[in-house]
Each structure stands twice: as structure tokens, then as C-alpha cells.
């Protein structure tokens, strides 16, 4: 009897470790942003559709905002577009688009066809800003608070459910004004 105790304990312990490991493996939905609680990186990029204008993230200092990283080459971005339009219609918070490694004409055409949920779209053709945000796959959506810190990052298509639970709940009560 006694000689079975140790192997069984070892087996259960190992199975437990592996179970936790599989459960928490860094797949797309569980990976936490390294930037959480840290200041969002500053960036200054051209504005989509107006080559003469630049958009600087500092323009939004002092109020919360949302950054959505997308590309016309990204299938999931099409999936989340409906939700983004619905979110934009609520006018709760500025929704800034980051056109990631994309062709400007294709991006413009996409917005003309599907509707434009963004207050402004910044063009990150070389992917430098995306790297600074630790982006590894579009779409990704970041919530930046009034002090300029990243409070949340959602990887994958945005849904109204995720919006209500993780984004709207982080907005100051009683709206922005």
C-alpha cells in the first residue's frame, strides 16, 4: 500500500502542473500586455486621408481614449467592424485607428465601403508604433486612461460583450465631460 503513495502523489502533482500549463499557455486570448499599468508609448504619425496632417498621441493627453490596431489584410478586423461602428455611435470615448502595415488606398477604400468608426486613423506603415505597443497580431484594442496609462489590451475581434465588460466599465462614471 505504502509504496503506491509516492508515485500517485508525483503523478497528481505532475498532472496538476501540466494542466495549469496547458490552461495558461500563451495563446492569443490569454497573453497579457507587458504595458499594463505603464504609460502608453507616445507616437506621431501621418493621418490617413490627409498627408499634410500629423496625429500625435499627446493631443489626447488628459482624457481616456481607445486605440484599435487594424489592417485590410486582417480577416478578424472585418469581423469586428460592425462592433466598432456600434461603439463609435455611442460617442463615449475617442476611438483612434492604427492602420498597421497597410496600403493607404486599401485602408481608405475599406472605410468608405464599411463605414468609418474612427475619430482619426494614424498610419503606421512601417509598424514601429505597433512594436512599441507590443502588438503581435491584428486586431488589438488598447484602453488608455486619462493619465496616459494602458489599462487594458484586448487581442482579437472586439465584441459588444468585451466592450461593455472591459472597456466601458473603465470609463469614468457620468461620461467624459
Amino acid at each position: 500500500m505504502n509504496r503506491f503513495v509516492l508515485p500517485v502523489v508525483v503523478f497528481v502533482a505532475l498532472a496538476g502542473v501540466l494542466y495549469i500549463g496547458v490552461r495558461h499557455s500563451p495563446d492569443k486570448s490569454t497573453m497579457v500586455s507587458a504595458l499594463l499599468g505603464k504609460p502608453a508609448p507616445d507616437f506621431e504619425l501621418p493621418v490617413l486621408g490627409d498627408a499634410t496632417r500629423k496625429f500625435s498621441s499627446r493631443q489626447l493627453a488628459g482624457k481616456p481614449w481607445v486605440l484599435n490596431v487594424w489592417g485590410t489584410w486582417c480577416g478578424e478586423c472585418r469581423v469586428e467592424h460592425e462592433a466598432l461602428l456600434a461603439i463609435a455611435a455611442q460617442k463615449q470615448v475617442p476611438l483612434i485607428g492604427l492602420s498597421w502595415r497597410d496600403d493607404d488606398d486599401a485602408a481608405q477604400q475599406w472605410l468608405t465601403e464599411l463605414g468609418n468608426p474612427y475619430s482619426i486613423v494614424a498610419v503606421d506603415r512601417e509598424g514601429r508604433t505597433a512594436i512599441d505597443f507590443g502588438v503581435y497580431g491584428a486586431p488589438e484594442t488598447f484602453f488608455i486612461d486619462a493619465t496616459g496609462r494602458v489599462l487594458y489590451r484586448h487581442v482579437g475581434a472586439m465584441t459588444m460583450d468585451v466592450w461593455q465588460r472591459e472597456f466601458a466599465s473603465r470609463l469614468p462614471k457620468g461620461g467624459l465631460q
Binding site: 512601417e126 512594436i131 502588438v135
Partner: protein, 146 residues
């Protein structure tokens, strides 16, 4: 026919293996090149998980390689470059994670496993030896009684 084959064989000698690699970046000197290759092989391509950025053809990997190259040319040390990657992507981007309180168990696990294995092996050998000795004494006894 043999002539053609011979020609192909000789021609293949002139094919550079580097041309077949995903990454064809060339840095101004051999030292930087070696550091570049070591660094890029040690950073995970976050999109494809188990490839390094040196081996991955996706756009993000080439952006990260460009980032490594630019930091090298700017005179950053290897540790600074790795730290800048961890700051943006977290520890998971390093194939060899740093030893700290969160990763200690990861590093110590093999040592603990080895010690446990030795402990169990020693116990089994001792037990067997004891049984064999007992067995011998019984056999001796039987013979003695004959």
C-alpha cells in the same frame, strides 16, 4: 547526361546558403553581424510562437529584426536590446527567460527532478541489495541444515 549533372553539381557549389535564409540582413562588420544573429535567434516571433524572429517570414518578425539592427547600429548593448523587447512584449519574447523570482521554479525544476530521481534510484538499489542479502542468508541456512 552525366555532363549536365556534373554542371548542376558544380553550379550548386556557388549557391550561397545565406541566400536561402529568411533573413538576408548584412551588418557593416562581422562582430555586429554575429551579435545580430545571436539576438534574432533568441527572440520569439510573437505571431508564430515557436519560431525565432530570425527564422520567420512574417512582417512582424522583419519589423523586429529591423528594430534589433537599428539598436545595434545605435550602439546599444545586447542586454539593453533584450530589455527593450521585454518592456514591449514581456518575458515571453525571450527564448531563454531571465532568472528572477517568477521564473526561479522554471530553472530549478530540472535540478529538483534530477535530485529526486537520484534519491529514488538509491533507495531502490538499497532495497534490492537488502532483499538479495536476506535471500542469500535463507539459502545458506537451508544448505546448512542439509
Amino acid at each position: 547526361m552525366t555532363r549536365v549533372l556534373r554542371f548542376i553539381a558544380v553550379a550548386m557549389l556557388f549557391v550561397s546558403l545565406r541566400a536561402l535564409a529568411v533573413d538576408i540582413t548584412v551588418l557593416p562588420n562581422e562582430q555586429l553581424q554575429q551579435r545580430y544573429e545571436a539576438l534574432t535567434h533568441g527572440l520569439r516571433c510573437m505571431q508564430c510562437m515557436n519560431n525565432s524572429i530570425a527564422d520567420s517570414p512574417v512582417g512582424l518578425a522583419s519589423d523586429l529584426r529591423r528594430d534589433v539592427k537599428e539598436q545595434l547600429l545605435a550602439g546599444k548593448t545586447d542586454d539593453e536590446i533584450r530589455a527593450s523587447m521585454v518592456k514591449r512584449y514581456g518575458n515571453v519574447i525571450l527564448f531563454t527567460p531571465a532568472f528572477n523570482s517568477a521564473s526561479a521554479w522554471l530553472w530549478l525544476m530540472p535540478v529538483i527532478g534530477l535530485l529526486a530521481g537520484i534519491f529514488i534510484a538509491v533507495r531502490i538499489v538499497r532495497q534490492r541489495r537488502y532483499l538479495v542479502e536476506q535471500d542469500d542468508s535463507v539459502v545458506d541456512g537451508e544448505e546448512g541444515s542439509r
